[in-house]
């Protein structure tokens, strides 16, 4: 479903991604672990072209993201095409980034209506269904400012799902939450994982990685150091750097 091949990315002199390759199969849940500054978020942001790559390719659902290949050259796609591709890729931010001037319902309905041009009545049903799924039906007409952090992140997940995406990317979805609110967001994500949604999750929640991940990817200094099932990478890491990281966060 996702094929990342030899991706490089620098910010000025800082070489953040140094040739990352990764495959995520349909229905697979991949959890990306790594110390801060290892390039986890940048990698995630290249998957929906929020970040342009310097070299390498990213493909989602068999289609190059953000670029068109002609021979050996990649040309950036026109914005309209990029926006169309993004509707297939849900993205959940660390800081929620809900639209504060729109109600919960309007937040979730916005993209299906304006980006996918789906009929309003159909979208209204989708919104109700998704809010029920994240347990926030009673908050449909509330503004994000009146919700707790955990509730906001659950709305953000509903908003990402409203596009009916092929994959959903999570960028440290629980890092901005008070400890007692982390559980409710992880519950929603666990449910999603069970229903066969393809997910890539950048997180520090080792517990979530262990029980929900099919694959754990350990990233350090812009490279994939180790990847495999959680009982291998978390419990029996092969690489010295993985071991050091796991022992620090457990």
């Amino acid at each position: 479903m996702i094929e990342i091949d030899g991706v490089h990315k620098s910010f000025g002199a800082l070489h953040v991604l140094r040739g990352v390759s990764l495959k995520v199969a349909p229905g697979e849940v991949a959890v990306v672990l790594g110390p801060s500054g290892s390039g986890k978020s940048t990698l995630l942001r290249t998957i929906n072209h929020l970040e342009k790559v310097d070299a390498g390719t990213v493909a989602v659902d068999g289609e190059l993201v953000g670029y068109r290949r002609s021979g050996d050259v990649l040309h950036e796609l026109p914005e309209r095409e990029i926006l169309r591709q993004r509707t297939k890729i849900g993205f959940v931010f660390q800081n929620f980034n809900l639209f504060p001037h729109l109600t919960v319902r309007e937040n979730v309905a916005e993209a299906p209506i304006s980006a996918q041009r789906r009929p309003k009545a159909e979208v209204a049903e989708t919104v109700n269904r998704l809010l029920l799924r994240v347990g926030l039906s009673d908050k449909a007409d509330a503004y994000p400012g009146t919700l707790s952090g955990g509730q906001r992140q659950r709305v953000a997940i509903a908003r990402a799902l409203a596009l009916d995406p092929k994959v959903v990317l999570f960028d440290e979805p629980t890092s901005a939450l008070d400890p007692e609110l982390v559980g409710e967001v992880l519950d929603v994500m666990r449910d999603l994982a069970k229903t066969g949604t393809t997910m890539v999750v950048v997180t520090h929640e080792i517990g979530f990685a262990r029980e929900a991940a099919d694959t754990v990817v350990f990233l350090d200094e812009g490279l994939v150091v180790e990847q495999g099932p959680p009982d291998q990478v978390i419990d029996h890491p092969q690489h010295e750097r993985t071991r050091a990281f796991i022992s620090r966060v457990l």
Partner: protein
């Protein structure tokens, strides 16, 4: 085992005495005294000539002048903020040419005094006696005399709008910059088209910081229109001058103008309150 909710306990022990503020009372008394003196003088001093004020407050010539003041304010606001909005977006553009042109505009039009600019537009015919319309550097389709196209009202509206645009550009730019960059990113990640992103997501949030400053500017503009009296345009300030030159009732007529300016800005402040409330929705 049974548990009972803790009962609300009656306060015991020493009472807390309210703090006294003798100097507050003293200051309040002083202010009341000054207000009483001012009111007394307004009523008893015959030089205010309240009957003359009453006579001219709703005189047709004054009402026409109020209307022209409103018209100039409206033209200055609408065209000023429309151009200012475009300049703000240009200024924030990654294209260095667009950005520097917008910067240059603000630089020039903020530097030149409004009164000088108004006279400049009024005398445009000295610089360009005829204006022609056609293909740039190519043939001209038709031309008109500058004096015929730009009369005093147009010159005044042009001057006010161009002047206002420089300030509006900075206000709008400030408002756009105040919106969390995460909002733009979230909208882009959701695939929302660019124009919709601007008008549905970014601008309504920018309006929260634009409106208070814009309100200031528009109220400033109401009074700023009085500067166009130098072009002999019969707006409010010019009109009361004409009347008191004729009848010598200077104070009373200045008072008429002051009352109208006060009324106009009051209405605008009320409108601003509701506009702010509209854009503040979703935030406490």
């Amino acid at each position: 085992m049974t548990t009972t909710a803790p009962a609300v306990r009656q306060a015991t022990g020493p009472k807390v005495a309210p703090t006294r503020h003798p100097f507050r009372w003293l200051a309040a008394a002083g202010v009341v005294l000054l207000l009483a003196m001012a009111a007394n003088s307004l009523v008893t001093n015959p030089a205010w000539e309240w009957e003359v004020v009453g006579q001219y407050l709703f005189a047709p010539s004054v009402l026409r002048a109020v209307l022209l003041t409103l018209e100039l304010t409206a033209l200055g606001t609408v065209f000023g903020f429309a151009l200012g909005g475009v300049l703000a977006v240009m200024r924030l553009s990654p294209n260095p040419l667009l950005s520097s042109v917008a910067w240059g505009y603000v630089w020039v039009f903020r530097a030149v005094p409004l009164i000088l600019q108004l006279l400049f537009w009024y005398n445009l015919a000295l610089l360009y006696p005829r204006l022609s319309f056609g293909i740039p550097f190519g043939p001209s389709f038709f031309s008109v005399g500058t004096m015929d196209l730009i009369g005093p009202v147009t010159a005044a509206a042009l001057g006010l709008a161009l002047h206002q645009a420089a300030y509006a550009a900075e206000i709008v730019r400030g408002g756009l910059l105040a919106v969390d960059p995460g909002q733009r990113e979230a909208a882009a990640a959701l695939g929302i088209p660019r124009v919709r992103r601007f008008f549905r997501i970014i601008l309504p949030q920018a309006m929260r910081s634009i409106v208070p400053n814009a309100g200031n500017e528009i109220i400033g503009l109401v009074k700023g229109t009085s500067v166009v009296y130098i072009m002999a345009l019969p707006e409010l300030f010019y009109q009361v001058q004409v009347i008191y030159m004729r009848n010598g009732r200077v104070v009373a007529l200045l008072l008429v103008a002051a009352i109208w300016y006060l009324a106009l800005t009051t209405v605008m402040s009320v409108v601003q309150h509701y506009v702010e409330r509209h854009y503040g929705r979703g935030r406490s």
